[in-house]
């Protein structure tokens, strides 16, 4: 990148993550210093930093090395991480469900947590304009509602979390992809400020993720397909449909999923986490159950909030079909194995 000899914290990101295109645009390194910028779906190295004991390399999720020696080590039982319960859930409020990707669980939980002063605001991803979505710190129910729906690309929303930390914001909720929650765990484990970071977080809501798309390449692809309008919504209908749909002002347009898979962020291919194991509560789609979410309660904190929300009728639940649970488990396991093998391949190529 023409920035000279990088033998320091930054160089671990630039020489490993950015140079080899492994960045998944989580935003953990953005906003803590002027050396990384995020714009339009991409994280860029701006200038050469000489800092040898900086934070960036300690929190980057792509610098976390899996603690297993072979993909055989992954087991079906633990493929979704630890959790207390797994159910199907949805927002009781129909209005929320209408705006939502699936069952509106995340939106309803956040609005509830905000109203109960459980949180003061939430780090979310907005819908973006002609440029990519970006992180925002939502402090009102309307802000939260405006962010509902899935994005399908990294938007560095952790940069907003970093800004919250700088502003001494407390009771922060973070909604993030698995990689982002791994980065947050790394931040919580920082030796000097980890404890303070931990204490400023009130809730970690993780989103299931198989992969995310490279925003700029997607935009380029859509342009080539003649779509220059703003994209209002994205969707991937459940198998066997094999399609990727975008909603523009002139309606839904469908593309073969196979072509879209070419636009997956390279860094996603070496990811081991499908169900956001480092969260309090993980949320995803419910297979064959339109209008519902699959929800995994992982921590006591998550359990307490979830139970309260159910008790007060904000969240409706039903049990998850066993076949769905097994499918999810299988999918998680296969992502782990695939991701680990890819990680080993990338590593050996360097």
């Amino acid at each position: 990148m023409g920035l000279g000899n990088l033998s320091n914290s930054q160089s671990q990101i630039s020489n490993w993550v950015l140079k080899h295109n492994l960045c998944v645009v989580c935003g953990a390194c953005v906003g803590i210093c002027p050396y990384f910028n995020y714009i339009d779906g991409k994280v860029m190295l701006m200038d050469f930093c000489t800092q040898e004991t900086g934070k960036c390399h300690q929190i980057c999720p792509k610098l976390v090395i899996p603690d297993v020696s072979s993909s055989e080590a992954f087991e079906m039982q633990s493929s979704m991480g630890t959790y207390k319960d797994i159910v199907m859930a949805r927002a009781a409020d129909e209005h929320i469900r209408q705006h939502a990707q699936y069952g509106g669980f995340t939106t309803a939980m956040l609005i509830y947590a905000l109203q109960k002063a459980w949180i003061e605001g939430a780090v979310l991803t907005n819908k973006g304009d002609e440029n990519s979505s970006t992180g925002i710190f939502a402090k009102t129910p309307n802000d939260i509602l405006a962010c509902s729906g899935s994005r399908f690309n990294g938007s560095a929303s952790l940069s907003v979390f970093n800004r919250c930390l700088r502003d001494n914001q407390k009771k922060i909720a973070i909604v993030g992809l698995p990689c982002q929650l791994i980065a947050v765990s790394q931040m919580e484990n920082l030796s000097d400020e980890g404890e303070a970071i931990k204490n400023s977080i009130a809730l970690k809501l993780g989103l299931f993720c198989t992969w995310a798309l490279d925003f700029r390449r997607l935009r380029e692809y859509l342009k080539k397909q003649g779509i220059h309008q703003r994209i209002l919504k994205y969707d991937i209908p459940p198998p066997p449909e094999e399609s990727f749909k975008v909603l523009t002002e002139s309606g839904w347009i469908q593309f073969p999923l196979q072509e879209i898979r070419q636009l997956i962020q390279y860094g996603c291919t070496s990811c081991l986490d499908m169900t956001a194991e480092a969260s309090d509560i993980s949320v995803g789609m419910a297979e064959n159950q339109a209008g519902w979410n699959t929800v995994m309660i992982r921590t006591q904190r998550g359990f307490d909030l979830f139970s309260q929300a159910v008790q007060e009728g904000v969240i409706e639940t039903c049990s998850i079909p066993e076949a769905n649970r097994i499918h999810l488990q299988e999918a998680s396991l296969s992502k782990k194995k695939r991701g680990f093998n890819q990680f080993q391949t990338i590593r050996s190529e360097l």
Partner: protein
Amino acid sequence: MMNTIFQKNGGVRLLLQGNEAIARGALESGVMFCAGYPGNPSSEIIETLAEAAKTLPLYVEWSVNEKVAIEAATAASFAGCRALVSMKQNGVNVASDFLTNLTLSGTHAGIVLITCDDPSGISSTNEEDARWFAKLADIPLLEPATPQEALDMMRMAFDLSEQIKNIVMFRSVSRLSHTRSDVVIHHLPEISSRAFFNIRQSFHTFPVVAKHKQRHEKLNQAGDQFEISEYNTYTGPEHPELIVITSGCVYMYVKEAIDMLHLNENIGILKIATTWPLPKAFIIKHLQRSNRFLFVEEVDPFLEENIQVLYATAAGQLGIKTFFGKSSGHIPFCGELTPSIVLDCLASLFNIKRPEIQFQTHALTLIQDITPLREFGFCPGCPHRGSYYAIKTALLWDNRDGFVSGDIGCYTMGIWPTGFNQVKSVHAMGSGMGLACGYGKLDRFGFQQPVITVCGDSTFFHAAIPALINAKFNQADAFLVVLDNNATAMTGFQPHPGTSHTVMGNKTEPVDIEAICRAMNIPVSVADPYEMLETTKVVYRMLQECGVRVLILRRKCALIQNKEGGFPYTMKVDIHRCRGESCGCNRYCNRIFRCPGLIWDENAKKALIDEVICVGCGICAEICPQQAIIRL
């Protein structure tokens, strides 16, 4: 009170800069029309004449470029008014297309083309010897050695031009133009001519061969006069061991070196002031004095080559001679000459030790402890720093290996860290945009990198407009950023078509860059380089667009803002917020942004504002990650 340079009376001794002496010489020759384009080391000639125009009956202008300048001045000559056109060596390139035709058509009233060459390219993009244009265009070339000669030879130049009816070239170099010495001035003439174009005359190049022949006849006439010119001299022993053949102000270096080496009994100096056409008989006569010759002249081996050709025509009569100079390696081909270089050369030729006092090294030892190391840098408050910061950021955001095609002005320093090394090419005035026309058509060969072309406001008018029209015409994908600081800042704030006054102080309606672009149906935006983040977003947005588009980054030169009342802020670093070297900053302001007003407190390990240097433009407040730089 009238400036003493412009006094009517002669016979007075004044301390004059070389360029002032040239201007005075032109006035003494009855010059009426003067035009030029600013460029170091020539600028003071037109500026001095513009000052004179306040009290004397002459017209002076900064033209939009050198070609227009020589054309405008030539019109005056055609209409019977003595005219002068002044420029630096690069300017002669621009003027040369007209020049090489003009010398076929011939001129009427005396007209002199002054070139001030810049050996070492101290403030130029090249190191060029403009004398070749005299040979190329078959016109007389004069090279004064001292300010006094510069003044006196101006009259010779005008008279000669009028006699042979062709333009005369007059060459100065930086050290002559910018030295000061005592000069005896002469009376200023009363000017009585009226501009009138005699319609029985015509000035064109046809029939070409006949005109070409006539041009050589005129040159021969000049050569005849040069044979008896008092400015060509030989000084020294009757038959010295070595003769130094020299021209221009390096003549003085040669004299000094010979004195210092006590070689006055051994070396003669043949000083040629009329360097084209050569005074052949005069030179051949002096070639008989010795068998060894050293050429010492500034930039190219012009005399060296031409005199050796002349020698070849008379070698049978002269016998075997040995020539030293650039070709033999005794004098460097590149870089400005100094007395020290000449001293070294003569000492080696005579196999003696040169005196111990080495000017440069001695001066260096004297100042090295008290002079801090400095690099080229934009002034504090310079809008270009903000512009390049925004461009750099936008190009990185864009992430397609974009780069900047540069041009000539203070912003040329974008090739260095002060401009974040953004500029990847610089050549001639307006060439950045010309290159952009090419990059903008390479997409068919797989070229996908965005290119930003920068040019200043004066450069835009000078030569970027034709290239911009070309980009529009040929549908090139080109993004021009005009760094409009409302000044020809680098050469000393000369007015240009975008400013609202002329060099003679008349108010004029500024030419509107936006309107020019709009007239071509080119989309144009304007942003303020002091608003770096906003500007970055605009640059980034425009990088995503296609076709020809122009962004004007408009903010007056910091030095003009200073003159007009200064800057709004006093800057301060809140040391409690400043993170210093630690993670999250790592001295971003003084290590990366590098405004000279931002310094480092080695004891406190915090950033600091240098109150003497900082002008208070306030832009650095935008770049501090901790918002520790505060505008008070």
